[in-house]
């Protein structure tokens, strides 16, 4: 946890995403090195969530490729899953499990060797340790989101894919998140994040997704 991640690169080359029968974006490239962050910008429907799901491996790109240190990510889904953490719109919290049980389950599923100590530290970091025996159903939306975010620290992974992580968070929690992200980057981790609110990512690259929207005609032609 304390030692840094080895220097790596994560890059996309000519990515295209088709949702339903619509081309959401095409010809999308980016390159990210250890310690860097990528901020996804664009209006609703421009494909920020789709891109994050695609980077996580939930979606398959209609074209293009994703590479990790030059090797195609698609070659080994499980290896890729081990190096990412994905935080989506849902918090994936079971109402009848306690805060600690919820976190430990995900941490151990991600890395069976992850210990209780990491879970405790993660909960402390997000100010949830005093609630660790409280069942998930009693949590507020902000607490649920913080519990979901504490997965990032419960079991380490070099790439964080965060889809609007600041939703439901108060100012102080957003500050915590920013600090956690900064530490992660300092250790050589990467962060790809979409946000509507302001999450401060110093020195982050910005990716405007609406620039990769295909021309209207091409959106149709691609299928026809």
């Amino acid at each position: 946890m304390t030692e840094g991640w080895p220097s790596s690169s994560f890059s996309a080359d000519g990515l295209a995403c088709v949702r339903g029968e619509r081309v959401v974006f095409a010809q999308l490239d980016f390159q990210l090195a250890s310690g860097e962050a990528l901020l996804l910008l664009g209006p609703n429907g421009s494909g920020k969530s789709s891109l994050l799901r695609l980077l996580a491996g939930l979606l398959k790109p209609a074209a293009g490729r994703l590479s990790w240190n030059g090797a195609a990510v698609a070659d080994d889904r499980e290896v890729h899953a081990a190096r990412i953490h994905y935080v989506g719109h849902h918090d994936a919290i079971k109402p009848v499990l306690t805060v600690l049980e919820n976190l430990r389950f995900w941490a151990r599923l991600h890395d069976p060797d992850s210990g209780d100590e990491a879970a405790r530290m993660a909960l402390e970091r997000f100010g949830l340790w005093r609630l660790h025996e409280v069942p998930g159903k009693l949590l507020s939306a902000g607490q649920k989101r913080r519990l979901n975010l504490s997965r990032l620290l419960g079991a380490p992974a070099p790439v964080w894919l965060l889809d609007e992580p600041s939703v439901a968070l108060d100012k102080a929690s957003v500050k915590t998140l920013e600090a956690v992200i900064a530490e992660h980057r300092a250790r050589g981790g990467m962060v790809i994040l979409s946000t509507h609110a302001d999450v401060d990512l110093p020195g982050a690259q910005a990716l405007h997704l609406d620039r990769f929207a295909p021309a209207p005609a091409a959106a149709v032609e691609a299928w026809i």
Binding site: L59, E78, G88, D91, K94, L109, P112
Partner: protein, 221 residues
Amino acid sequence: MTRLSEIIRRDLRLALRQGSDSIMVVTFFVLTVVLFPFGLGPETNLLERTSAGILWVTALLASMLSLDRLFLADYEDGSLELLALTPTALELLVIGKVVAHWLTTGLPLIVAAPVLAVLLQMNGDGFATLVLTMLLGTPTLSLIGAIGAALVLGARRGGVLLSLLVLPLYVPVLIFGVGAIDAAVQDLPSKAQLLVLGGMLLAALPLAPWAAAAALRQALE
């Protein structure tokens, strides 16, 4: 393998704390079986002759009752996405969930079945075979059901649709389950039927999780 046991333990813990499905399924099983004597009349001969069929058909319906919850809760609260992003084969996680589901709904049915067999006047020779067929058959039902449960995620009227998809596929299990018991009751060898049931389980064990995992990945796209 630790991940497999991790997910089984979580699902068992969830079932234990929510505590509804097992009891509901067994209650449904008992209630429906008790309805048959009212529908058919209480003659011992008739009940005895139809007992194997009644028990199996009802068990099949009961095991389908909780099937649509198999993946739905995880799908709705986002857990399924994270499960699919676990650094292990999704197929293995499907097996874990099916095992937990079978332990909480299939196993109680097997415990209840002999009691209900007494109520239906089943010949005592059939009891052991009844339990054996259900031990071999209900896991197959859960496995096939998992494919259906994964397919209807996000569909309109998923629950009703699920029965339409799954029931035709249950027919072979039903036929051989009842066939084995009938043979045992008539003092005929039932080994062949049991072997077929076992064969179906062995075939479903790799194939069904594979198909269910494919369906889950689609549901998450």
